[in-house]
Amino acid sequence: MTTPTRAGRRWRATAAALVAAGVAFAGLGPGTSSASSHREAPLVAADPAVDNTDLYAFVSPERAGYVTFIANWQPFSEPDGGPNFYPFATDAVYTINVDNDGDAKADAVFRWTFQNIDRRGGDTFLYANGPVTSLDDENLLFRQTYTLESSFHGEPFKTRVTGAPVAPSRVGKATMPDYGKLRAEADKRLPGGWNVYAGQADDPFFLDLRVFDLLYGGDLSGVGRDTLAGYNVNSIALQVPFSDVALKGDAKRNPVIGIWSTTERAKTRVTGQVGPVTGEKVQVSRLGNPLVNEVVVPASLKDAFNSISPDKDAGIPAVVARVTDPELPKLIESVYKVPAPAAPRNDLVEIFLTGITTKAGGPIKADLNSQLDNADVVAANFRPAEMLRLNLGVPVAAQPNRLGVLAGDLQGFPNGRRLTDDVVDIAVQAVEGAAQTGKLVEALAAGDKVDANDNAFGGEFPYLALPNGVSVNSPVSKGGSAAGTSGGSPSATAAAAQPDTTPSAFESGTGMTAVAVSTSAIAAGLGTLLFVGWWRRRRGQPQP
């Protein structure tokens, strides 16, 4: 602090004059931006529009030679009939990727971007102002369209369709009396035999999320309810011929593909311009196998995992370490006193990182779904990576079994993933080393006790159940099973359509025509275990 200068004195004279003139000055402090409450911005913001929840890939059961991919975003969309609705993000890119030569880089990329058509005019928040009977109904005030592009072998993207309509959020019976019609209008057939759909659907994932209490010292005593029942998601579904995604276009010689989905946003710089969607991208979400984020990747690596591409998986030792030495079995050991299988867990490496094959040195003596099993693959270029792997050559199961490969139904998870596969029960047993130890964890045999989705799936593309139409948390749906059957699905629960697990289902195996020649190890080993589990459960618990 200095002696007042001449200037200072002059200033004080000025101030005095101003005060004398009756002007309040300085005495009330600075009116500056925010003196005592510094800028506090949102820190952990929900971002469901880009939150990728599940990925499915399966041979189309009713359309020979075609594979279907389904990816979901926007979990827990509640059909509350109110003003809330759930658009795809227009500043994001949604992709489905296929690697057919095993180098963990995409050989086929399908890319969706979305556009808004907003006719609300700024003076209403309403989604619709009357009954919506078609996708171009003028009562639908907010709608979206999308552009689908594809790129093969790293070539530039080509537009496959543009301006295609998105099926809207289902906002209630009064507004959308016939949602099935809207769904049908959004189901697009494209040249080349492609089918594509984007829009809302019932969340096809069925599980009791409380199964994850295991991770926090809880147990499974309270499970048995599908905690996703009644909620919707935003789905993208695509059906293409095998030849578009198989290596060299030859699904006979090269039937195995690996699939993952991503959500990306434009890279943004604070040192320069805000870039458009066509520039550099940042991957904000990634998904291959189900439950990897929950049961494999630890909390401190989830952000890393979601931000890297599969070809980098093997280069991050911590990710591989968590696959070979997972946390869940140790937690189960502490709760159920079941010894965790000894690490390294090379059986899990096969399931999650290489595909089930005899060509990568793993312990499972079967060739099912690794790109290494493709005849034209250069093995030296193979790179372990987390993705959902599917052998297109496995025939469609006449009676799909919810336990998939573990029950001898080789067309199910972890060979791809069908809508009806019970991935929670399968994955819990898998991390317990069902393949390696031959011992079933009795306390876990029932898994999460949710064996099927609340709404039945359709028999043809896009297979997904229609979105639910009644608020999950409304008094109506809370009273009983209304939420489960309110979606407009014609049939009762899908459980009825699920065949029982019978010994013959796995003992007979299935006719692997393509490359999987010795699946009996899986079928007989894991299948028997799971059957025992099923049998115990059946004895212990009367069916509802």
């Binding site: 200072g8 009330l28 009116g31 820190l43 809330n84 905690t227 805000v274 909390a299 931000s307």
Partner: protein, 425 residues
């Protein structure tokens, strides 16, 4: 997938216990959520509490509870949530001492909220040692470096956050970073991008508030007013928007309306800042501001009682009660802790009030060093320069202030006009 589990377990608890809380709200809404009530945040708190009663070992839920308390504190400007947040975050760290980046980042965010910016920086770095990909930890780091007056480190942290997770939290921080550097057009563009990704009504309101503030700082009253009305339509309880509206009301000459806008603010969030705004308005309207002063002092006491340190707020209070020398001392104490532009502005202004424009001048320069475009900043600089005898600088800055926004303050703008007239004559 990462949001799903947290939401899921919360939801499970909600359904299980029949709360009927609308947990789906964080996932809903966009792109223009309807007028919504505010219970979503409290529902989330309640659901997390139920979850933790059922599974007390869920360290992720403890960390999420801490974050939810912090969010509640931020939205409601109620520091009474800070100790609750701290309890939950420390509990998370007890249950899971290692590999718990969430709790460390949460404690860092709490330290920022309490103005312990150095502590926040340390905690953010600890979180990043556990999880180098944590965009949240980079957000905490960016906030801390900004307030500590390390603009290059702050920009680097913001850029890293944007590289890891483009989205609302990083866009809003990027916009603020650009704003401080005077890149107004880019700041507006990025805040508009943030708005397009915002789903929760409070977040939509936040974006409109700052788009409105950016417009207001440059005198675009019409755009500012449009954002105020859009933001209040999304979240009628957004106090930051009411505070901005009060400025617009006052600029339009309607002090009564401005006071009623501010009354909404202080009724909900009696912060030092808002109460001093109110006192200023009362004084301008020729009314007695003493009750607002008393409340402002109480608000400051509440903040410090909940573990906060805020010599900047204390300086505002001292200045308002006529103790300019004491205010300058407090502002300089804050400056010793952190060399941030806002602090420099306060030091300059209080030194000027204390009759030491020569000492104020370097602080006024420092406050404007990054090039931030703001009428009040320019006005302060101009008045300090004037008092320090730098006529040219005074002319430039006062003209700038009035060119940016001729009605930037009902009390200060007329002084700027008269001083400028005196300088030009």
């Amino acid at each position: 997938m990462r949001v799903r589990i947290v939401l899921g377990v919360v939801l499970a608890a909600t359904l299980l216990l029949g709360l009927g809380a609308v947990l789906g709200r964080p996932t809903g809404g966009a792109p223009a959520a309807a007028p919504a009530e505010r219970p979503q945040a409290t529902n989330r708190l309640a659901a997390l509490q139920e979850r933790l009663r059922a599974v007390p070992g869920d360290w992720t839920a403890w960390a999420a509870l801490g974050e939810a308390y912090l969010e509640q504190a931020r939205i409601s400007a109620d520091p009474a949530y800070y100790p609750k947040a701290e309890g939950a975050l420390r509990r998370s760290l007890e249950v899971r001492p290692d590999g718990n980046a969430d709790a460390l980042a949460g404690l860092g965010a709490l330290a920022n909220a309490r103005h312990d910016f150095a502590g926040a920086r340390t905690l953010a770095e600890r979180a990043l040692a556990v999880n180098a990909w944590s965009d949240t930890a980079y957000g905490v780091l960016a906030d801390a470096e900004t307030q500590l007056g390390h603009p290059e480190a702050a920009t680097a942290a913001v850029q890293r956050m944007l590289d890891l997770r483009p989205g609302l939290a990083s866009y809003t921080r990027g916009s603020y970073d650009l704003e401080q550097h005077g890149k107004r057009t880019e700041a507006v563009a990025l805040m508009r991008l943030a708005l397009s990704t915002a789903t929760a009504p409070a977040d939509v309101a936040f974006c409109h508030q700052h788009l409105g503030s950016l417009a207001w700082a440059a005198g675009d009253v019409a755009t500012a007013a449009r954002h105020v009305s859009l933001g209040l339509a999304a979240d009628p309880g957004a106090v930051g928007l009411w505070q901005l509206k009060a400025k617009l009301d006052a600029a339009a000459g309607d002090l009564t309306l401005a006071l009623s806008s501010l009354d909404k603010v202080v009724a909900r969030t009696p912060t030092v800042d808002a109460l001093l705004d109110r006192a200023r308005l009362l004084q301008a309207a020729g009314e007695d501001p003493s009750s607002s002063f008393a409340l402002a002092r109480a608000a400051h006491a509440l903040f410090t009682a909940n573990g906060g340190t805020d010599d900047l707020g204390a300086a505002s209070l001292a200045l308002a009660s006529g103790d300019a020398a004491g205010a300058a001392r407090l502002a300089l104490a804050e400056w010793d802790r952190r060399q941030f532009g806002e602090v420099a502005d306060m030091v300059a202004w209080t030194l000027l009030a204390a009759g030491e424009p020569g000492a104020a001048l370097p602080f006024a320069r420092r406050a404007n060093a990054l090039g931030q475009v703001d009428a009040t900043l320019a006005y302060h600089y101009g008045m300090v320069a004037h008092a320090a005898g730098l006529k040219d600088t005074a002319l430039v800055q006062l003209r700038l202030a009035l060119a940016l926004n001729p009605t930037f303050s009902p009390t200060d703008a007329p002084i700027a006009v008269r001083t400028l007239a005196a300088l030009e004559s």
